[in-house]
């Protein structure tokens, strides 16, 4: 399969109250590629993710999804976001809806798909993540790991071209991290294009085709997992990796 370029960010800058958060970010993701961003807290990696689907406005630069400009001010932004799935650290399921309705809301209301068809696919997804029995429950009745798996299913049903995962295990108890990461590993095997922000280094290594190390709003290093973990070129990455392990 020809690996075409799916997402590109060029010379992206972003400021909060004059403080630079992202500085000259250049990023290209090919279709089917799994890219993991690592870096210390506050390095701008989550902000970068949020800029990529237009949740944050960028000050300068250009972001394109398959040739279409990502611009939060444009009318097309909703259409674009349908094509970019995002899963958040705090799950953000809709508390007033059942698990099944959480998953089918957007396909029915946004993509105008038939309810029966959307529910059929939702049930398949629930089976895949092992939560079929919980379809009629409310999010409040589920554990964190279960909620996060539902959030992944909710993103998947939209058939996104790109999936953004923003520290999806950071709010979970340690024993629930695995069940969520296994779902993501499974998606990677399937050839999904993903951009993942995580603090789980072993997972990053296992899932990534390419790893990007960010610090202070800049991309410092990028390379294959082996290269990044075994032969860090910069002192900053070296120090970061040292801090991440005991």
């Amino acid at each position: 399969m020809d690996k075409r370029e799916l997402l590109s960010a060029e010379h992206v800058y972003k400021y909060f109250d004059g403080t630079p958060i992202l500085q000259d970010i250049n990023l290209k993701i090919k279709s089917g590629e799994v890219v993991v961003i690592i870096g210390p807290s506050g390095c701008g990696k989550s902000t970068l993710l949020r800029c990529l689907n237009g949740l944050e406005k960028i000050a300068e630069g250009k972001i394109e999804l398959d040739g279409d400009m990502v611009d939060p001010a444009s009318k097309e932004i909703c259409r674009l976001r349908e094509r970019i799935g995002m899963v958040f650290q705090s799950y953000e399921l809709f508390p007033h809806k059942t698990i099944l309705d959480n998953i089918t809301l957007a396909p029915i209301k946004v993509q105008k798909r038939k309810r029966t068809e959307a529910e059929e696919e939702a049930l398949k997804l629930l089976e895949r993540i092992g939560l079929s029995a919980h379809k009629d429950k409310r999010p409040s009745q589920l554990s964190g790991g279960q909620k996060q798996r539902v959030a992944i299913a909710r993103a998947l049903i939209m058939h996104p071209e790109l999936l953004l995962l923003d520290e999806i295990t950071a709010a979970l108890d340690p024993e629930m991290v695995r069940e969520v990461l296994e779902v993501v590993l499974d998606l990677a095997k399937e050839g999904r294009t993903m951009l993942i922000v995580t603090h789980e280094m072993a997972f990053a290594r296992a899932v990534a085709d390419r790893i990007i190390f960010m610090d202070e709003g800049r991309i410092i290093e990028e390379g294959t997992p082996e290269r990044i973990f075994e032969a860090p070129e910069t002192e900053r990455l070296q120090r970061f990796l040292d801090n991440m392990s005991f």
């Binding site: 949740l55 958040f88 953000e92 959030a151 939209m158």
Partner: protein, 228 residues
């Protein structure tokens, strides 16, 4: 048994059409409540949404409005609108209209604060996760934010409605013959024949208010359970 009924002054209720008069008075009170509640819910929700947008001009206006309504006793407000407006600007409202205006002003203020509070308590990330699914702002509000807002405002809204119904007893001060006024008239008229009528009549009015407000409380409990 008959002695007890007469002794506690319940006997007056069966004289003439006193029962019907009391129910008629209750109906008047409920009518004023109904119009005021409907206006308050609509206008209050709208103002609450505007207030949650954090626009400076709206904030100043709403703060001033809410403070004035909160500080002012409803009775004073009633007198200002009914007597004051007539003297100052020649605005001659009927007592019923004046009552609906005052209760709507009050209800709108309280309702807007409830809506603002519940909207602001919905995490920003709910808007973002909706947006990330491709929902427009309108869809986000219709399917995600407003249903949650209604759930959060429901207890406070029911409380407000029952308070409004109870506070309509003030409108007799501007000449409306509502249930409490009817009660007083019945007691006055029977002062000689049933000197204990005060207990029976007021106890009955208590019961009538209870019957008017209780179903509303039940409804809210039902809705809350359904919404969870």
């Amino acid at each position: 048994m008959g002695d007890v009924i007469t002794g506690l002054g319940f006997d007056v209720l069966w004289k003439g059409s006193n029962w019907l008069r009391l129910l008629g008075g209750l109906l008047t009170a409920l009518e004023i409540s109904l119009f005021s509640v409907l206006i308050s819910l609509a206008a209050g929700s709208l103002l609450g949404v505007l207030m949650s947008l954090n626009k400076k001009a709206i904030d100043i206006f709403s703060k001033l409005y809410l403070e004035i309504i909160r500080i002012m006793p409803q009775m004073v407000l009633l007198f200002i609108v009914y007597f004051g407006a007539a003297r100052a600007w020649g605005l001659n409202f009927s007592p019923e209209t004046a009552s609906v205006i005052v209760f709507s002003l009050w209800g709108t203020a309280e309702m807007s604060d409830l809506v603002r509070g519940s909207l602001q308590s919905i995490p920003k990330a709910q808007y973002e996760s909706s947006a990330a699914l491709g929902m427009s702002t309108a869809k986000t509000y219709i399917y995600v934010i407003i249903p949650q807002m209604i759930r959060r405002t429901l207890p406070g809204t029911i409380n407000l409605i029952t308070r409004m119904i109870k506070t309509t007893s003030l409108v007799m001060m501007i000449g409306i013959v509502e249930v409490l006024k009817v009660g007083q008239q019945i007691i006055e008229a029977n002062r000689k024949s049933s000197p204990n009528a005060a207990f029976g009549v007021f106890a009955t009015i208590f019961l009538l208010y209870f019957l008017a407000c209780w179903p509303i409380s039940c409804l809210s409990r039902y809705l809350e359970k359904k919404a969870v």
